[in-house]
Symmetry: C2
Subunit: 752 residues, 2 copies
């Protein structure tokens, strides 16, 4: 083997020669390239003897010696230029006493170009300097961040801002590791402070000492989710569910007697609906309330273990009165589920006679809530404890109701409690915001990996990182506008209730699944840091997890939405014979929507057009309901009952419901855009709306391609645009999460 | 308004009349239908006067009266037949003293049929009896469950069975709510018991008192994940990472001195690689190890806060010696990352001089692990504490290594630690199994909702419930076979290492994301029950969450896979000019795979054909690598460096890597099928493999449709078959999870 240093004209080739061998393998082709270029520099093959045989590589010691030579010579240079390997080679050659001429330089550069793809490590790897450190780029909001906050907050800006200030101040501080028993008392204390601030009674009519502002109550609830979901839940159980049931299902005498002490938290209470055997299917609960005319009392009874009330918040420790749902029986006749007020503890905390309470014990999350199980052993309550807005029983036990149908009465009663679903869906958006704000602020600061010799790259500048967070940011904005619109309608007594109930069910399901998904993605985006309790994901993940289950299991809720769509469908098109008419209508519509010219349009302008987004999302929602109706009908025609027919089509029903909600959310964000307070805010929302819509379409593109709504090039154009939109939104990502106005103390420590 | 009871011939119409009005709305059409059929029964219109005017509905009291009449008459019957509303009507008419003739009966039946779709509530809703209760159907395994366990276990059946027996016995019991400090000691105690059983030293060569069975060690680790992931992690840190680093990176003198006491847990230790500033990008860590020839020592130093070792398991409380990764400097030259043994605590637990240890504090999960942060203030260690398998420093400070390239040396060192990724991927499969077994057993028992008058339906008989759990069950089986194949190759010294490293990275990412997804889906499938700590999801969710981050962040790992695929691609096709040749090859292949006849075949036989599955999953994997190579090349041609070019194509790189892993997993399950020990086991695996493959294709169908591998009817046929396969597997779902042989005490309480 030749000693390389016998000919200084080889010096400029050192870096390339080392790197070509560094992985221990040199191909024949690479060896040839080196030979050619060395010869082009006017050198013969001799000096490289033993260095270019793929079968017999130089020893590691030889290679390390070569590397040491490069480093030694480079260290003699003031600041070695290593932009390219040619620059480095020329530099060390000079340090070694040989100044390459133009031909030699060209030969080295030619070799570097020829080997380019095959040489993995760059010049920087040969000169193991510390990477340069770079400042973080300044973030310049392209819009008025405070203005965005006010816009997002909508007509309840004031109450939201008040609650944010409150939870951002002591004593509202996350406790870290804490025993459940202590946590429950801490949450009770927090809850008292909220009651003292008048927040608990916000929805209570003013004549009973409240704020008369149900919309404000939901806004306050939503905002609490930025801080602690145990507190949120305690607040919701006491004031929303327990207080709400007395207000909505009771009548004046109940209001007069209870609403003030409920709102002040002097009377802690429970909402006892679920049973061990029946969580979702509440119509089939088994607790009984049998009227006894002899004593003018109802007897509340748990006939079997599976009929015990289960998961009841406030039951295990603090509750004194409970709204209990039970099957009303009078004069030997059953009238279905009604609500009754049943004392479960005395003022001193002793459990009432005939009542048995177990603690549900340690849970996945929400360990600040004292969930319990309640059984009743023939507990007697006065007749007036029936919450009698929708049905009364007179002293003789005669039953009367303004609603004859048991089923309709039941759903009317449940309908008055729709606020719970509006509130939980809204809280899910808040939880998503905390997770995103933490991950995005962290991602905008943290660097990891980088090109050799360059500063490490900011995490949020990686496309995969943007792809994780930007579409979820867009969806969070979209859901926020949709939820606030729903809150407004919920609080407006002139709005029709039925669509509100359906939207509340659908948005609750979609928003809570979004929260689960977003919190997980954000936690993973923070790597190991995401695992520390101080960075908030621990509590967010564990506590918000229950959102998908409580106030209605999401799968059950989406089926309600689907049933409602089928009913609406039937109302619009009459009985099943109307289907034929519908097909004609659809065929006409389909001609427009599947127009090949539209199917193939893929200009960016078209792909960002709200009309395109609206039409294509609505088309999917409608088409899926239509096909669901057809499928259900064909099963009913085959003799199945309605329940079985719908169960058979469950997968389609869920898809139809989800598509409907996604289309509805798009409509809400488009409507918001039309009312944008400034052009810069409208511009931001345009990007978010486009990303929301296109990512939704991309996710469903299998269906769109199957149905002929997209052709392949358009589908690919949408995929590419999603990636580009992520990059387009990225520079404004921090201001966009700043606009959520989350108190610093509610963010993860890595984001403060 | 007429009194209905003036004509007993109206009695058989009562149920229909009530239900037609029950929702408070009657359409003109419905009113006409009723009139027609009442007339067909030979009655005039008079008796119904006031009952058929859509504008003026009967009062609720009237309707409740009608309902009471039906119920009163029905109660006089022995067991009223209410299969249909006609049966019920005829029955109550008889009880009321009128026996309808054939014409009347036909008229009632005709009306019921005509109103069918519009009448929501059935006869059962009118007679509020308790639902009938039904026994659970017997579960008959269609295959040998024990045989399946043995097959799944593979050649490490014995050790797996031993570990299962151990964790299924006291004192291995989940502690429920427990303070971190107590939990850490409990986990240490458990870990000692495992060491006493010889499990800790399983991978240690026999000459140092071990089992000489690295494959057995991974199998034991995998099995521990059925019980407690803190224990799993402690076990992995001590014996896998700390012990493994001494074994793999050290030489004989280190082995002789340390391996026995590590395996017995008499020397608890740490694996200190990650730093606060560098978790994923380990090559850029900043801890230094500078050789001082004057004293023959290395000086270990933490030059800045972000260079402290972070997240180090065993550091905060128990560890005494640590394998510390640091940048080796000698004679003013840097040689990259090397591993050193550094004492951090004395035998009495006192922290060593110059060492500073902080506790990471409370975490999302894994609170049985004492994670800590370690900083070094110029700590001196003897020269022999360099783990010197891949590099030595002599007394003069001269550095030598059998691997000249710093990058290659680094990856070779990391490569020897590949067992960690194999183990974590395997543990993720175990965690998925516990979640699925709990949810599937519960879902096979729990009933909720049902057709009126019918027993409630078993959860697992709902298509949506099947769809949640069956595809994840199939994927869990597929991943189990793939992981066990990888474990076998990992333990076989004759197998080529590089593909093992790439497969370990890819499978770890895919399996751990699968676990996160599956545990969440299983938890939601258990509703409120899923939220109770006793049902295991709390611990599973929180503890397994870290799987996606540790032993390599999943996104980073998939990028490694993509880079490896690009390298393999280059090896196969030479330099970039080979691309042209490749295009020709691909064009030829594409003709076959995109053959319209295949694209359109949608018979069930074809859709379940393993050749179809293999070809279509492989085509996607290959096509995506090809397009990735093209994209990277075009950016390099435009002058970007390799790092930037790959970052630009990151989204595609991740898709290509994932597709590659999915195709690889399919190949493993198909290979397993070929070696099935019996036809009934092969048959079960066929269903699971088909569901795995088709669900994977369904998820990627947007891409397949775009590329012309599927036409729309075939894509829809695949969707339908996925739903049917879920139903086909459902009756065997419980035996299939029983075959995981999870100790009862490791399952959720609802599943025992």
């Amino acid at each position: 083997m030749a000693d390389l240093d016998r000919d200084p004209r080889l010096l400029p080739f050192y870096p390339l020669l080392y790197l070509a061998w560094a992985d221990g393998e040199l191909s024949e082709r690479e060896a040839d390239l080196i030979r050619q270029h060395v010869e082009a520099a006017g050198l013969g093959p001799e000096p490289l003897e033993g260095w270019l045989d793929p079968e017999r590589p130089p020893s590691p010691a030889k290679l390390l010696g070569l590397l040491s030579s490069v480093r030694r010579l480079a260290s003699e240079l003031d600041r070695p230029d290593h932009e390219t390997l040619t620059d480095l080679g020329v530099g060390i050659a000079r340090a070694g006493g040989h100044d390459p001429d133009d031909a030699e330089r060209a030969a080295v550069a030619g070799l570097e170009a020829a080997l380019a793809v095959d040489v993995g490590e760059g010049a920087a790897a040969m000169l193991p300097e510390e990477r340069p450190v770079a400042e973080l780029p300044e973030i310049r909001p392209a819009f008025d961040v405070d203005g965005m906050t006010v816009w997002l907050d909508g007509d309840k800006h004031e109450i939201r801002a008040r609650v944010r200030a409150l939870i951002g101040s002591p004593p509202f501080e996350s406790p870290g590791e804490i025993a459940s028993s202590d946590y429950r008392e801490l949450v009770l204390d927090w809850c008292r402070r909220l009651a003292d601030e008048g927040l608990g009674a916000l929805a209570t009519p003013e004549e009973f000492g409240g704020g008369g502002d149900p919309g404000g109550f939901v806004a306050a609830f939503e905002t609490l989710a930025l801080f602690d979901i145990s507190l949120l839940t305690k607040f919701g159980v006491q004031f929303g569910l327990f207080g709400g049931s007395v207000l909505q299902l009771g009548t004046r005498r109940h209001h007069e007697r209870y609403l003030r002490t409920i709102g002040s938290l002097d009377l802690p209470g429970c909402f006892a609906m679920s049973e061990s055997g029946h969580g979702s299917n509440v119509a089939d609960i088994r607790t009984t309330a049998t009227f006894d005319p002899a004593t003018d009392e109802f007897e509340i009874h748990t006939p079997r273990v599976r009929a015990r009330k289960d998961w009841i918040g406030n039951a295990a420790a603090h509750g004194r009165l409970a709204t209990v749902f039970a099957q009303l029986k009078t004069n030997a006749e059953q009238h279905g589920v009604h609500a009754f007020l049943v004392p479960i503890r005395g003022a001193n905390g002793t459990v009432a006679q005939g009542v048995r309470i177990e603690d549900c014990g340690y849970k996945l999350g929400l360990n600040g809530i004292d969930n319990g199980r309640i059984s009743f052993d023939r507990v007697r309550i006065p007749r007036e404890n029936l919450l009698d807005r929708f049905a009364t029983v007179d002293a003789d036990g005669a039953y009367s109701s303004p609603i004859a149908s048991q089923g309709k009465r039941f759903f009317t009663m449940l309908g008055t409690l729709v606020g719970g679903r509006v509130a939980v869906g809204s809280a899910a958006v808040s939880a998503s915001q905390v997770a995103l704000a933490t991950a995005i602020r962290y991602g905008a600061r943290r660097r990891q990996f980088g090109a050799p010799g360059e500063p490490e790259r900011i995490l949020l500048d990686y496309p995969s990182h943007q792809r994780r967070l930007m579409p979820r940011l867009a969806r969070t904005y979209a859901l926020q506008f949709a939820m606030h619109d729903l809150q407004r309608r919920y609080a407006d007594p002139d709005e029709e209730r039925r669509p509100i109930e359906a939207d509340a069910a659908g948005l609750k399901a979609v928003a809570t699944w979004h929260a689960t998904d977003t919190i997980q993605a954000a936690r993973e985006a923070c790597g190991g840091q995401g695992y520390l309790a101080g960075n908030r994901f621990a509590a967010l993940k564990a506590d918000s997890d229950v959102f998908t289950t409580y106030e209605g299991d999401n799968t059950v809720l989406l089926q309600l939405v689907a049933k409602d769509l089928l009913t609406g469908f039937r109302r619009e098109f009459g009985d099943v014979s109307g289907l034929a008419r519908l097909f004609v209508d659809r065929a006409r519509v389909a001609v427009t929507e599947r127009n090949p010219i539209i199917t193939r349009r893929s200009s960016e302008e078209h792909l960002r057009d709200p009309d395109f987004h609206g039409a294509i999302l609505a088309a999917r929602a409608e088409e899926l309901v239509l096909s669901l109706a057809r499928r259900v009908k064909s099963r009913v025609d085959d003799g199945k009952d309605g329940f079985e027919a719908l169960v058979d089509c469950q997968i389609h029903a869920l898809a139809a419901a989800r598509a409907h909600v996604e289309s509805h959310v798009l409509d809400r964000i488009v409507a918001a855009e039309h009312g944008a307070p400034s052009s810069s805010l409208a511009e931001m929302l345009e990007r978010l709306r486009s990303l929301y819509a296109l990512r939704t379409i991309e996710t469903a593109r299998g269906w769109y391609l199957e149905q002929g709504y997209l052709d392949a090039p358009k589908s690919k154009a949408i995929r590419d645009l999603v990636i580009r939109l992520c990059a387009e939104i990225r520079p404004q990502a921090v201001p966009l999460v700043d606009a959520f106005a989350i108190p610093e103390s509610c963010l993860g420590e890595i984001a403060r």
